[in-house]
């Protein structure tokens, strides 16, 4: 299924029907490369303050204008992408690794552990995200590490739930029974029978979580609970610059668009992943 999932996905990506998704993937790649290479690009210093030239519109010197401290918005968007994408990616990794482990382990731990653990997870899933974020930030202070940890923790239970549900269905499959009848222990079952079959659903869940994490990073930064200034992130830029829409509406629009298009692209790719996965699940 690894091979079929991937190859079906790639094939679907190539087909004309999914032009939007392949364009989205291409876009994401470009954004990722730009963000990764931000320090090497011939763009202005994203931290250079110019208080004589704040909130200016697009101009020759500043293609997308300047922000509330006169910093170049284009450069901040590109550098902000490093943060926004990096935080989201790391958070997804964290949530994915932790959530997958939790979900699989719970799925193989017997009914009692299962019942209690899942109830606990239910409780954590229904904890308001903003509240979790507040607590984490109060406990750990600001900073990128906290932000990644917080967002990772917020999405970890959801990940665990998805993985757990899938694990439960895998657990009942005949190949797992077959392995058990060969004498396979829990670890073997998890490593060789469950995990490899979870990859595709993990991929889909990760793509969904990635777009959530981007928005969450943005939301937290918007509320001032995220990235610490002067480091730029898209959400933080929108959060701050939207205060000045009556002065210079463009300044907030550009980082907003960057965020929006990336989330859109992630969702488009995620949709395709899901379309490929769904018939697979049904099989």
């Amino acid at each position: 299924m690894t091979t079929t999932f991937l190859s079906t996905f790639l094939r679907e990506l190539g087909s004309r029907r999914n032009l939007a998704a392949s364009a989205a993937l291409l876009f994401l790649l470009v954004v990722a490369v730009l963000s990764a290479a931000a320090p090497l690009l011939p763009i202005q210093d994203p931290l250079a303050i110019d208080t004589l030239n704040i909130l200016s519109g697009p101009s020759q010197a500043h293609w997308l204008g300047t922000d509330e401290l006169g910093r170049d918005i284009l450069s901040r968007i590109i550098h902000g992408g490093r943060i926004s994408l990096g935080v989201a990616l790391s958070a997804v990794l964290l949530a994915g690794v932790l959530g997958t482990l939790l979900g699989v382990l719970i799925g193989f731990c017997g009914p009692r552990v299962e019942a209690v653990a899942m109830r606990l997870i239910d409780v954590f899933v229904s904890l308001p995200e903003i509240f979790v974020a507040l607590i984490a930030l109060a406990l750990l202070g600001g900073g990128l590490g906290t932000l990644i940890g917080t967002i990772g923790l917020i999405y970890c239970p959801q990940f665990a739930r998805v993985v757990y549900n899938m694990t439960r269905s895998i657990r009942a499959r005949e190949h797992v029974l077959a392995a058990r009848s060969l004498g396979a222990g829990r670890l073997w079952l998890i490593r060789h029978e469950a995990l490899p079959n979870l990859y595709s659903i993990i991929a889909v869940q990760a793509s969904v979580t990635f777009s959530f994490a981007l928005l969450m990073e943005a939301g937290l930064s918007f509320l001032g609970l995220g990235v610490q200034p002067p480091t730029p992130s898209w959400g933080q830029m929108v959060g701050i610059l939207k205060n000045y829409i009556y002065i210079n509406p463009w300044s907030a629009v550009f980082p907003g668009l960057a965020l929006f298009f990336v989330v859109l692209a992630v969702n488009l790719v995620g949709d395709l992943l899901q379309d490929v996965l769904n018939p697979e699940l049904r099989k």
């Binding site: 904890l127 903003i130 507040l134 939301g219």
Partner: protein
């Protein structure tokens, strides 16, 4: 059905009990001291005054004693008294919960009214331009951060066109129409994002359901593609849609902070956040418990709604 309800209720109570412990611990985990915050800025937290007030509020007792006092009173329906305002937490909750539910209901209305047709359209016309467009519209709704769409709504409808109040809350009893008009923009802000979710799940579920033999049977009976979809696929496709609506609605209970702030709508989320800022433990605990209780209630309602669309759910009940 009765036994099913009884079973669900008892399991709900168990969840609530676990939640109560978790909520209490989590609330106390936050560093900071409500008394210090209340007295702090002006008096610099004069130790004697702080100690006295802590004692008055019972915050100097052991966590266990505090928990059991709180839990015992909670069992009697007493949510305690806010540290900040000295008012019963329950009063606050009874004011805030209906507002939050109203906001969520408004968002839900927008989401269902726009999201369902959009989802159906994009499923029905899959592979065609109209399908792709409606898919993209729903993804756009889903992708637009609420603080972006919210700001746009305020500026366009509130400030430029001035056709709707940009923000605020007016009690229904004071002026029902003004009350409802205040609800429109925040509902839209929530609803547009929510719409994206509903449309996407509707699309996926409908495409799934369309593959079923009973839809083929419906067509074999002589139903057109459209009617087979609406009459046979759609009701069955609603089950996951309802599930996602329930989950999202539940998440919105404490998750509308940004919207409440943008539109100055005094709901449960902002109560929770402001209580967290001032470490008003009874209010934090009370609102979290309320959120859990409503969450559980919603999931019960969802089960009932699902059983309406899928009698098999009724059977397992």
């Amino acid at each position: 059905m009765l036994r099913f309800l009884g079973h669900r209720l008892s399991s709900a109570l168990l969840t609530l009990a676990i939640a109560a412990v978790a909520v209490f611990l989590v609330a106390r985990m936050i560093p900071g001291d409500p008394v210090m915050i209340m007295l702090g800025e002006a008096t610099g937290g004069d130790p004697a005054a702080v100690a006295r007030m802590r004692n008055e509020l019972g915050l100097d007792r052991s966590l266990f004693v505090q928990f059991s006092n709180w839990a015992m009173r909670l069992l009697q329906g007493d949510f305690g008294v806010s540290i900040r305002s000295g008012e019963p937490v329950l009063d606050d909750l009874l004011l805030r919960i209906p507002r939050s539910l109203e906001l969520i209901a408004g968002g839900l209305l927008v989401a269902v009214l726009l999201g369902l047709p959009l989802g159906i359209l994009s499923a029905r016309n899959r592979g065609r331009l109209s399908g792709a467009i409606s898919s993209i519209v729903s993804v756009i709704g889903f992708s637009a951060p609420v603080f972006v769409s919210g700001v746009i709504l305020v500026v366009v409808f509130g400030v430029w066109l001035q056709v709707l109040p940009s923000s605020g809350y007016v009690p229904f009893a004071d002026d029902p129409l003004l009350h409802l008009s205040c609800l429109v923009l925040p509902s839209l802000a929530i609803g547009l994002n929510f719409m994206g979710v509903v449309a996407r799940v509707t699309r996926a579920s409908l495409i799934d359901t369309m593959d079923n033999d009973y839809v083929a049977l419906a067509r074999a009976k002589g139903l057109s593609r459209g009617r087979a979809m609406i009459r046979h696929a759609l009701p069955n496709a609603m089950v996951p849609v309802i599930a996602i609506i329930g989950i999202r609605a539940g998440n919105l209970l404490g998750g509308t902070v940004i919207v409440e702030a943008l539109f100055d709508w005094p709901g449960l989320s902002s109560l929770l956040v402001s209580a967290s800022f001032s470490r008003d433990y009874p209010v934090i605990q009370g609102s979290l418990i309320a959120i859990f209780a409503i969450f559980i209630l919603i999931s019960l309602l969802i089960d009932l709604a699902q059983s309406f669309f899928d009698p098999r759910v009724r059977a397992t009940a």
